[in-house]
């Protein structure tokens, strides 16, 4: 059996930053991803990032993926692509599967940066073909250059819902409406304003009641909701759409962590079930770390910072380079705190605080 040194599961922004940081501190690193290329969700993000220069502001997600990949390739990190981690064996062995084989890989430190999976919501016919998660729509149109449909109803006005709506328009697809159950728009107003200028209605206090269609989506029924999110009778409206895009949040992917036996906590502000972790991103199982959306759904900028912290701490405990690691960790913690002070970082900040209060 091969030993992977510091094994990182997931090659998105968190995993890439963890790998780069750990490798730069001289630790042996193995990075595993189930896709044919690294970058995670960055490879479909055509929008420019916000924040400060060290958070790649003004650069598109797709270009950040390339930048991080270049930084990684300057290190001796071993990259395993097209491979899924399908299980954990005690004490410190991962089961890996690709299309052809099953192998085992042992680790000295493990960083789980598996990201999150798309949520769905309840409505009639919500399983019909033509209903996509927002990430899937992005994959189709921004990675493969394929239009999922001609007329789209977007459900959810958080940043993902707004950004993907704009990207749909850029791809030559009509967006019939963006609906939002809350009485106000969820995401940044700069994104909402772009849609408003193009005449796309953003209907707050609205929900989807049903998808219409037998074999696939041919329409949708939307309606108003009251203060308690209850549908208001008589407000139903039919929309002729062939695609319904759900941008209704994400849930952390935590299967490996819970299989390992990391203590889990349920924190709605972080997207649900997460592995408890300390300031250095270490879980209740010594040597097992978590970073990015898997540690609480947030955004790519914070995922990268958490990745740096996890990578630096894991590497220091292996190589003994505590002083160098400490500088990296302190800088990343400082930047994390700054991001979470903003109005859109508040939710995650509350979630992380709540977790810290759950003393382990």
């Amino acid at each position: 059996m091969i030993d992977g040194g510091i094994v990182i599961v997931g090659g998105g922004p968190a995993g890439l930053c963890a790998a780069i940081t750990a490798a730069q501190l001289g630790a042996p690193v193995t990075l595993i991803d189930d896709n044919p290329r690294l970058g995670g969700q960055l490879i479909k993000q055509t929008h420019k990032f916000f924040g400060s220069k060290s958070h790649y502001c003004g650069i598109r997600g797709i270009d950040i993926a390339t930048l991080l990949e270049q930084q990684l390739s300057a290190t001796p990190t071993k990259v395993i692509l097209n491979t899924t981690v399908i299980g954990h064996f005690k004490p410190n062995i991962l089961g890996l599967a690709n299309q052809h084989t099953f192998t085992k890989l042992s680790y000295q430190r493990l960083i789980v940066a598996t990201g999150a999976s798309e949520n769905t919501i309840l409505f009639e016919n919500n399983d019909l073909p033509g209903i996509y998660g927002a990430g899937a729509v992005q994959t189709l149109m921004n990675v493969f250059g394929i239009r999922p449909g001609k007329n789209v109803l977007m459900v959810g006005s958080g940043n993902i819902g707004l950004i993907v709506s704009y990207q749909l328009l850029q791809a030559g697809i009509n967006v019939s409406a963006v609906i939002e159950a809350l009485p106000k728009i969820g995401g940044y107003h700069v994104h909402a304003a772009k849609l408003a200028r193009l005449g796309i209605p953003i209907l707050t206090s609205h929900t989807i009641k049903a998808a219409i269609g037998k074999e696939y989506v041919t329409g949708a029924v939307i309606c108003r909701v009251d203060k308690n999110f209850k549908p208001i009778k008589g407000t139903e409206k039919r929309l002729k759409v062939d695609t319904i895009c759900l941008a209704v949040g994400l849930s952390p992917l935590v299967e490996i962590l819970s299989q390992i036996g990391c203590e889990m906590v349920f924190i709605p502000q972080l997207g649900g079930q997460v592995a408890w972790h300390n300031e250095n991103m270490e879980t209740t199982v010594s040597g097992v770390y978590v970073a990015g959306d898997a540690s609480g759904v947030e955004e790519a900028s914070t995922a990268m910072l958490e990745g740096r912290i996890a990578g630096a701490h894991a590497a220091a405990t292996l190589t003994g380079k505590f002083t160098e690691a400490e500088a990296i960790i302190n800088q990343a913690k400082f930047e994390l705190a700054a991001i979470r002070q903003g109005p859109f970082g508040e939710k995650a900040a509350k979630g992380k605080e709540k977790m810290m209060q759950t003393v382990r």
Binding site: D34, N35, P36, T46, R60, I62, T84, S117, E118, D127, L128, P129, G130, I131, Y132, G133, G135, A136, T139, L140, M141, N142, F144, G145, I146, R147, P148, Q170, A171, G172, K214, E215, Y216, L253
Partner: protein
């Protein structure tokens, strides 16, 4: 469905985009339910099917409900199909290959 799937030069491929350029791989032929279709090397089977107007990928086991492409990242199992006779293949992660035979899956796959 067959009317939809036999469409050639389908308009669902994006050619002009303000930000992105799509450098598609070699054009390849594959078969969906016996019918030849075109796709590109480097894309997944699921993507090629959507580009050809195929929406229904399988029928669920109990209620025989139509299921399509949902998550695109190998997490939801909505896109399990029979690929070269092999059932339960997650086509959103499976690369398209020359001559590959793809069929809708009905219920559980028989191995």
């Amino acid at each position: 469905m067959s009317k939809r799937t036999s469409k050639r030069n389908t308009p669902t491929r994006i050619t002009d985009h303000p930000i992105l350029q799509f450098n598609r791989g070699r054009e390849i032929t594959f078969f969906f339910e016996g019918e030849p279709m075109k796709g590109y090397e480097g894309e997944t089977i699921a993507a090629a099917l959507v580009a050809n107007g195929v929406k229904v990928f399988r029928y669920s086991e109990k209620h025989k409900r139509a299921r399509g492409f949902f998550c695109a990242v190998g997490k939801c199992s909505s896109c399990l199909m029979v690929v070269d006779g092999k059932p339960n293949t997650m086509v959103c992660m499976e690369p398209l290959r020359e001559g590959v035979r793809v069929e809708r899956q009905r219920g559980r796959g028989k191995i």
